[in-house]
Amino acid sequence: MEQDKVLDIAVRAGSLLLRSGAETYRVEETIVRICRSYRLSCDAFVLPTGIFVSAEGEKGALTIVRRIPYRTVDLTSISRINALSRKIQNERPEYEQVLAELDAIANIKRYSNITIAMAYALTAFVYVLIFGGTLMESLAAVIVGIVLGLLRFFFRQGSSFPFIEYFAGAFASGILGSLFALLLEVNPYLVIIGALTNLVPGVALASGIRDLLHGDIVSGISRLGEALMTVFSIAAGTGIGIATWHLMGVMA
C-alpha cells in the first residue's frame, strides 16, 4: 500500500479514537502500530486537541496534522478500533476495506436518546442512595437526571462551547433542587450532587493523571485543566441556580 494511504487510515483511526475519549498513549500506539503493519516507519505526537503524524518512506517525509475540536466518551468506538488495529496488524487488509470498516465504526448504532435519559435518571437515583439519601430524595433526583439528559441532546446537536452544557445542567439542577426542597422538604444538596454525578468529570480526572504517570505531561495537564474547567462550570451553575431561586423568593 502507498505511503499516503497508510498514513491516511492511521490518522483516521487515531482521530476517531481521540474523539471517543481514548487516552493519548493509546492513540499514539494505534497510529504507530497501523503504520508498522504496512512497513512504514512513523512517529505520532498526540495531544487531547490534535494529532501530529509524520512518516518517512520512498516518497520522502509526509506529515498530517489533524485538529480534534470536541471529545466525548464512547467505549464502543474505542473497543472496535482496538479490534480493527489488531486485525490490520495480522491481516494487512486493503485500503478500501479499512476505510469501509472505519466508516462503519464512525456511524455505529448508539443507544437511543430515551435510553440515555433513563441512564441519567438511574445514575441520579443510585448515587443519591449511595451518598445516604432517602427514597424521596432519590426520586426527586430522577427528575433532575431526566432534565440533564434532555439538556444533553439539546446542546450536543449544535456545536456550542462544551462548558455551556455543564453550566446549564448545573443551573437547572440548582433551581430544581431548591424547588424540590420547598415542595418535598428534601435535602437539596443531596438531590443536586446525586444528579450532577452525571456531569462530574471523573473520566477526565482519572485519565489526566494516568497520562501524567505515563509521562505524557502535556496531555495530562491539559486533561486536568479540562476537568477543572468542567468542575468550575458545574459549581458556578449550581451556585447561580440556587442564588436565582432565592432571589425569586425575595421578589415574590
Binding site: 475519549g21 487516552e23 473497543s79 438511574l122 450532577l196 473520566v203
Partner: protein
C-alpha cells in the same frame, strides 16, 4: 449486612447506568457492572463501616477493578479501559470535588483547600492503582514474548 447488600446492588447499577451514557457495547454491559460491584465489595472488605470511602479503601477497590478489567479484557476481547472506566465510577471523588468548589464559592477558603487536597489525593490513588495493574500486566506480557 443489609446495607452491604444494598451497596453492592447500588455499585452494580452505579456502574451500569453511567456506562450506558458513555455508549458501552451491550454485550459488555453486565460485566462492566460486575466490575463496579467488585470495587465496592473490596472497599467494604477493607472497612465495612465507612461508606464515604477513604484512600486505602479506594486503593484496594481500584486494584481489584484493574485486575478484573485486565482479566475480562482477555476473556471478552475488548480493551481493559472499557471495564475500568465504569468500574471506578462509584469510587471517583466526584462529591469531594464538588464540595471543594462549593466551599470556594461560599468563601470558606480553608475548608476548600482541605477538600481540594483530599480530592487530588483520591484521584491520584485511583489513577495510580490502575497504572500499577496495567504496568504489571505489560511487564508480564513482555517477558513472555521474549521467551
Amino acid at each position: 449486612m443489609m446495607t452491604i447488600l444494598k451497596l453492592l446492588v447500588l455499585g452494580f447499577l452505579g456502574s451500569v447506568a453511567p456506562a450506558v451514557a458513555i455508549n458501552i457495547e451491550k454485550r459488555l454491559l453486565l460485566w462492566a457492572g460486575l466490575g463496579g460491584m467488585l470495587g465496592i465489595l473490596t472497599a467494604l472488605l477493607v472497612n465495612p463501616y465507612v461508606v464515604s470511602f477513604s484512600i486505602s479503601q479506594i486503593f484496594a477497590g481500584t486494584i481489584v477493578i484493574g485486575l478484573y478489567s485486565e482479566l475480562m479484557a482477555k476473556v471478552l476481547k475488548a480493551p481493559a479501559t472499557v471495564f475500568v472506566i465504569p468500574g471506578i465510577f462509584p469510587l471517583v471523588p466526584g462529591i469531594t470535588a464538588y464540595k471543594t468548589i462549593q466551599a470556594f464559592v461560599n468563601n470558606e477558603v480553608t475548608e476548600a483547600i482541605l477538600l481540594g487536597i483530599d480530592t487530588i489525593a483520591k484521584a491520584f490513588t485511583i489513577a495510580f492503582g490502575i497504572m500499577l495493574v496495567t504496568a504489571l500486566f505489560r511487564l508480564v506480557r513482555r517477558t513472555r514474548v521474549r521467551k
